[in-house]
Symmetry: C2
Subunit: 506 residues, 2 copies
């Protein structure tokens, strides 16, 4: 599968119609190809060779699309960086990737320059649109499916930057699977709302272009303009994280008008609460699909889309299925195994780690042979996610393996405690972690953000929880915080919470 | 991509519902897996090893599905044979493939035994259901995407049998593409009407199972029961050859009741006439999609499905698009090149050969390195089909390269003459070939089958054609035949016609 042929096909069949919308810009695929070729020429003129790493620090934009295809045509490896990171961390990632160039936009230029300096100064900084040149006399770079296409940085366990590598064939096979699973077609308009430096959205760059669909770019996440854009661009499908969905349905204009073109909203990165799921379906009047995946898996592994054999079941049962993590995507082999590597029974009670095989699993981490080796067992990728699965073949994540709390000889799944605590009327959000404790081994500890104006005593929260979960799962300590630290994609950073609470408690 | 995982997923998610229907049999996917494993065990017990060739001579049947998955699980290579061939030809193919076993059904047992004898007698003959055994103690065969999965015999140019090899990854990537292009999902019911020994139908074995759809088997092509089955099984999609479609719409019961579940009819193997297309759409009340592909390409390369940019065009223009050969499928790179290898302009007049690249192109012919080398140029597969293409990116086949007639210094495309001749009210079907001629080089010659009870003079046909095509294209000779020789899939055998007319004429 040749990824560069994706744009070739879009130009052949849909080249003359506006298909990429960003602010006032409306590009046809012919425009996109011309600009991508100009960037590929510019990269070549700047001395970059096939295989060289080109980082990008950019909000969602038609220029991001240009960079994705430009590097593909030039043969370079794209390294998308999180625009919310600090210069030191960005510099570390640039250094780790050995990036020679950092593509950016005007507003991030100072941050990009600083990151380059932190990386030793050898990383040239340029705006995407500025690197135009005709492609040189040589033929376009010849790529093979086994060529490295992109590197995405994830938070490793060691704290060092760790880049998951995606090959051409990983991206190509994942694109085909996603098109098949989601029924993507040329009538689709995809909203790039979640950040494109993360695979939750970035996978759609190739898949949507492949089918000849349209791209609507949302550079910033502001609920009101996003809702307006979903309507005015005729968006048919998008993928959002639950925190974004919560903000969208809370916006007063959300129910002011329908979203007639919207046919599906995908969400992932965290479980969705039943209450939020209900509001999302009501507000948008469309199908909801829970997704699950990892950067290392391109990303999708499961979808919660209702299967045919459940279509005559009661609505509550269907809703329960849809809100679970999901069933394996086509092409994914999935196991849930206990500590001794045995498959756990499909009783929806026994917990095990999700392990997968799929053509879109990363070959490993950039320059990290030991972490790569540790991530696999007998060819199966160890997700680090603990789950149950039921007789219908649907898995449900109970916790990250590293977030499980061992307290007084019992296992406590932080996600279960958080779900119970979240239903308390005064709680806006929370994170439950285990802190080292002489008596308990680990002490269940809750970091809680209250809703504006609310006040509640720890004892009241403990008493509330007593009605919902077993006593040994109730936090020994509640810490009230103004906000929780999050990753660029909105995931709560439990590692950070654990560190700061441990420091504060000692 | 591991093909054997396709059945694993179907069992996990859809295992308990009847999903394979054949006569009175209704198998669940769990049934299919159990039977496929039993066959895999039986193959092992019979001494077959991974990589060994297992041929099959069988009508469409749940047992065919069992053989496809059983050989996959056992690691053997399946070699589907055309049930309409004679024992000598079958024996040649068995010998060429080095098959050790021929799976069959009771009615073909004598033919199978005779074919085995022709092959030297070393090929064991067994009915699919008879080879049951528990899978041995050893683990299931470990396959890789580069393993050979199937061999399909095509008529080579030399007259010798020529087996196109399909690897696991060819079948897997083609399946994903077909699911994506056709929007196959678990609600689909596929009718296996076209013979499963040919890829026009066989590709659906894996793709439909992968999405968890249902299979409806039609062992024999009889218009009335096929029409009944399309209704009673709730068939949603199928692929038929034009000759089958012509017989279906001619059946009086075709319009007796609607086909509410049917959402698409695919057809390929030959162009469809505008009149037949019209009747198909009217009769079935569904979408028609012209497909194009070759055994060597798993098979699909193009589809005529209407693209979004044409959806507001006049109906006639849309019909014209749909009746063309089609536009490249996702994942297919397609060129139309002239004799010197240059791309022809997209003016829908300039003719060139279709050349393709795709992950599902065969690696070559079994034990035929020279024919394999001749089939490719610079990594592009030479289809041998001549076509034009238009500014919208849709190709249209004008002829097989080897069927073009060179007469008096002019090129005549046999397909154009046939299309004109077919519109004559007395003509049931026809084939136009070039025969060696001292004066013309080749003389345009028409083999004609008249409708029952019709009679017409050659001069009348020539006069009729004069109104439709240029004079130099009009056949010099019309030969009236009771029927035309056809391949097992209903394609007219022009090679055979050319040979017999040349013999008769000399």
């Amino acid at each position: 599968m040749e990824l560069s042929s994706i744009l070739e096909r879009a130009v052949l069949l849909y080249g003359r119609e506006p298909s990429v919308f960003c602010g006032d810009h409306a590009w046809t695929y012919a425009d996109l190809e011309r600009e991508a070729l100009a960037l590929a020429g510019g990269l070549g003129a700047a001395g970059l060779l096939p295989g060289d790493r080109v980082a990008i620090l950019h909000r969602n934009c038609h220029r991001f699309l240009q960079a994705a295809f430009g590097t593909l045509l030039g043969g370079e490896v794209l390294v998308p960086l999180n625009v919310r990171l600090d210069a030191a961390t960005l510099g570390e990632q640039l250094g780790d990737a050995g990036a020679r160039l950092l593509l950016t936009e005007a507003r991030f230029r100072p941050l990009a320059e600083e990151a380059s300096a932190k990386a030793g100064g050898g990383v040239r900084v340029a705006e995407v649109g500025a690197l135009h040149a005709a492609v040189g006399g040589s033929a376009p770079a010849l790529r093979t499916p086994d060529d490295l296409a992109q590197i995405y940085y994830t938070s490793g366990t060691t704290g060092r930057p760790r880049g998951a590598m995606l090959l051409q064939r990983n991206i190509a096979s994942h694109s085909l699977m996603a098109i098949a699973e989601l029924g993507l077609a040329d009538g689709d308009v995809w909203a790039h709302v979640a950040p494109m430096f993360h695979l939750a959205d970035a996978w759609a760059v190739f898949a949507v272009t492949w089918v000849g669909g349209r791209h609507a770019m949302f550079p910033d996440f502001e609920p009101r303009p996003v809702l307006e854009g979903l309507r005015s661009r005729g968006v048919t499908i998008t993928n959002l994280v639950p925190t974004m969905l919560a903000r969208l349905v809370a916006e007063p204009t959300a129910r002011a008008a329908p979203f007639p073109a919207l046919r599906a909203i995908l969400s992932g990165g965290a479980p969705i609460s039943p209450a939020l799921l209900e509001r999302v379906v009501e507000t948008f009047g469309t199908t909801y699909v829970q997704t699950y995946g990892l950067t290392e898996t391109s990303p999708y592994l499961t979808f919660s889309a209702l299967k045919r054999t459940l279509r005559d079941r009661p609505a509550a049962e269907q809703r329960r299925w849809i809100s679970r993590t999901g069933r394996p995507a086509i092409g994914v082999r999935l196991r849930v195994v206990d500590d001794s590597g045995r498959d756990v029974p499909r009783d929806d009670r026994s917990v095990g780690e999700i392990r997968v095989r799929a053509p879109w699993v990363t070959p490993g981490y950039w320059n990290r042979p030991e972490e790569t080796a540790a991530a696999f067992e007998d060819g199966w990728f160890k997700t680090g996610d603990l789950a149950t699965w039921d007789a219908e073949g649907s898995v449900n994540i109970v916790d990250r393996k590293k977030d499980v709390i061992l307290t007084g000889g019992e296992k406590v799944y932080s996600v279960e405690v958080e779900a119970a605590l979240s239903t308390h009327a005064s709680v806006f959000e929370c994170a439950v972690v285990g802190l080292p404790d002489e008596e308990w081994g680990e002490a269940v500890t809750a970091a809680v953000v209250l809703r504006p104006g609310e006040q509640v005593e720890p004892e009241a929260l403990a008493a509330y929880l007593k009605e919902h979960i077993a006593s040994f799962k109730i936090p020994k300590r509640f810490v009230f915080l103004p906000e929780l630290p999050k990753t660029g994609t909105g995931k709560i950073r439990k590692d950070e919470i654990r560190r700061s609470l441990a420091r504060a408690g000692s």
